[in-house]
Symmetry: C2
Subunit: 428 residues, 2 copies
């Protein structure tokens, strides 16, 4: 195949007709496939089948004899903090555990910053007349929804295979004190699956910021979520880097077991340097008498050591790796050489990020939907849901079955070509 | 016995000597008793022993076939909403479920009001230069800690056996638009154990408030927590009352199973009228992809009907009723007729609220502590920890064993008399 844009008009017309006929064949199948969300599939949830029975009315005491059924222990039980230390590489003393859903902990962190400000703030962020936030793009729609609701002007920053564009970030944060922070998914970035380079992490920890209360929300959602048994590079311990760089309060680290054990019934944590975490402990003591500790105990017993943890992640990989590879293979079969699409085949995480010919992503999602294949809305991976290039589509291959993935990706590939051909014909 | 204040000096001196000798006997026992917090005892936690096994890797689907292990269902599963409808008497459609800890849901409600304001607000509460909050006293220290942290000027309002002093409340809220809301524990008030009269509830729902966004945080923590099998009067459905009175957005209702099943591992809820609850659902969708639903499912299965619920509460009552009665009996033995103490023997809830001679509560708590009996700090039941009369002590009889309760209450009674006698001698 040669690049589509180099084809002459008659060839494009013929191609459109072939593609339309393939497209209509799929439409006739009355498909109903959903590739919208990064949800684990039932088989992944079954990996944790032994989690459920690990506490009962007698086996409900933590290692220090705390009755996990009762009130108390506002920062979480020690053995579960150690589990999160294994996951994140961060010292257990710097970790505070919550219930499920790290997203809630991020939201709460920002709400406290709005109402109380940060350690280094002159005033609560709610009292800043202008507040801005950096958003590596493409990124996670739920992150962007939070900063949008809180009235941050979101500034997109391009992602690269080594992490977000640090030249641009340094230029922005050094000159504009209203830029208060930044979203990051540093290990297997959402949706591209990139791993931030050490150099990027060091620059982010070291850079000068005009806002003295600049905060990076370091969402390590895929800390150990490899797709291949060969363990991939890990991001460095960002709390150590920032301490060394003289910006100890800059980073909030988040992680959860949502994609290790059970998506809706995991444990989530926040980690930060000593001053921040002590402040968080004090603030959290107003909000709760303690988190739900039985599930923490269940988790600590289920994953007592690194070997068990790695074994669980390998089981996940065995289930979802073929799905990721199917997406890659079929996209290559349909799109290679046409110069209308690019994507990175990730080594971990939950998504594949597909870039199509500019101006076509929305129409492709629409066409796929008419054929019964539900994709994340185009633009979802950008602040305010607006992809300026109308080019990026996030593919979530974990939930559907392998045969469904294959069909859905085939439909996506056909739609991508069909819309591109139509656009080229219109341009001619 | 006649009132202590009517005794002459020699009698008081002799009494002091007798009391001191009794006090020293207890000091010699090296006691270590804790009556500070309203925590259930181990026996109460054991009531729920069958809760633990009710979900596993196969039995994890809600009645509408939702896999409770996975993401989703942000407002909670239907069968658990029905459980909370049984507990609160409120329609299940007006209920949103969280994880454990209703305190967290109250805190979050106030944080959202600070950042976003309420439906009827002109601006976020954080942007109000002066904000005030009504606090029936004595009340719940954790409530007061939240409004203090959020910068509300807290205005104490006296409790009566029928609920807070409505004349005073109406006068305050009708004239001062900076009074934004009020804490209430309407059923078995914390700590007095009073049940708000219907008339009080009707007036609270109907009163004119200068703040159009006035909110009552209706913490129904002890909705069904009777100490006696004869079912006591229930507060009315406050959402219906407020709708009828033309103030539909006024009340947020909170409840939890913390003192029905497991204190640290219960389920909590918020309930409100249609407009408020729809707004909450929208706001919560930013914070989480869903609550921890397996515990909701566990709870719904454990308490499928009203009969089971009542049976559970009767088991709690059987365990804690003798403790409450021991406190009452021993306080009567030590303090009746002396005119230095008063308390209400509650029919439910978790506390006994003891009023001592003015100016003595702090010293009594101190003396008891020296004898090894830890009581809630005097003043804890008042905003800013300051009881203007230095008179109220909250007794939490549920956690210690019956023998411990008896000894601790005896020590408390002796200390109350000793400090009173010393104060009278100083005044003479």
């Amino acid at each position: 195949m040669k690049p589509l844009a180099q084809e002459d008009r008659p060839t494009l017309v013929q191609l459109r007709s072939q593609l339309m006929s393939r497209y209509e064949e799929y439409c006739a199948l009355n498909l109903s496939l959903d590739m919208t969300r990064g949800k684990p599939c039932a088989k992944q949830l079954e990996i944790a089948k032994n989690l459920h029975g690990l506490v009962d009315g007698e086996n409900c005491f933590s290692e220090n004899k705390t009755d996990c059924r009762n009130y108390g222990v506002p920062t979480g039980i020690d053995e579960c903090k150690r589990l999160f230390s294994m996951i994140t590489g961060i010292d257990a003393s710097l970790i505070v555990l919550g219930n499920n859903a790290s997203l809630s902990i991020m939201y709460d962190t920002l709400m406290r910053a709005m109402v109380f400000g940060e350690i280094d703030s002159d005033r609560p962020w709610a009292n800043e007349t202008v507040r801005k936030w950096l958003c590596p793009v493409p990124g996670y729609d739920r992150h962007f929804a939070i900063t949008e609701a809180l009235g941050f002007e979101m500034i997109p920053v391009a992602m690269t295979p080594n992490g977000p564009d640090m030249d641009r970030i340094e230029a922005l944060v050094s000159s504009d004190p209203s830029i208060k922070g930044m979203w990051c998914v540093p290990q297997y970035s959402n949706p591209d699956g990139f791993i931030y380079a050490d150099e990027v992490c060091i620059r982010m920890a070291s850079m000068k910021t005009a806002a003295k209360d600049f905060r990076v929300f370091w969402d390590n959602a895929y800390a150990i979520h490899d797709l291949y048994p060969e363990r991939k590079r890990r991001i460095p311990n960002i709390l150590e880097l920032s301490l060394k760089a003289g910006n100890p309060n800059r980073f909030y680290v988040y992680a959860s077991t949502s994609k290790i054990t059970l998506a809706g019934s995991g444990i989530a944590c926040i980690a930060a340097n000593t001053d921040n975490i002590n402040r968080i402990k004090k603030q959290l003591s107003l909000r709760t008498i303690g988190p739900e500790k039985l599930n923490q105990l269940r988790h600590a017993r289920y994953i007592p050591d690194m070997e068990t943890l790695v074994g669980i992640m390998e089981k996940h990989a065995e289930i979802i790796r073929p799905k990721f590879e199917a997406v890659d293979t079929i996209l290559r079969e349909e799109l290679d050489g046409l110069d209308i699409a690019s994507w990175y085949k990730p080594d971990g995480g939950y998504f594949i990020s597909l870039f199509l010919m500019k101006g076509t992503a929305g129409k492709v999602v629409e066409a796929a939907q008419k054929a019964g294949v539900l994709l994340t809305p185009a633009g979802a991976t950008y602040p305010y849901g607006k992809d300026p290039d109308d080019s990026n589509i996030r593919i979530a291959p974990t939930l559907p079955s392998l045969p469904d993935i294959e069909v859905a990706t085939r439909v996506l590939g056909i739609c991508a070509k069909l819309v591109a051909v139509e656009q080229l014909l219109n341009e001619h």
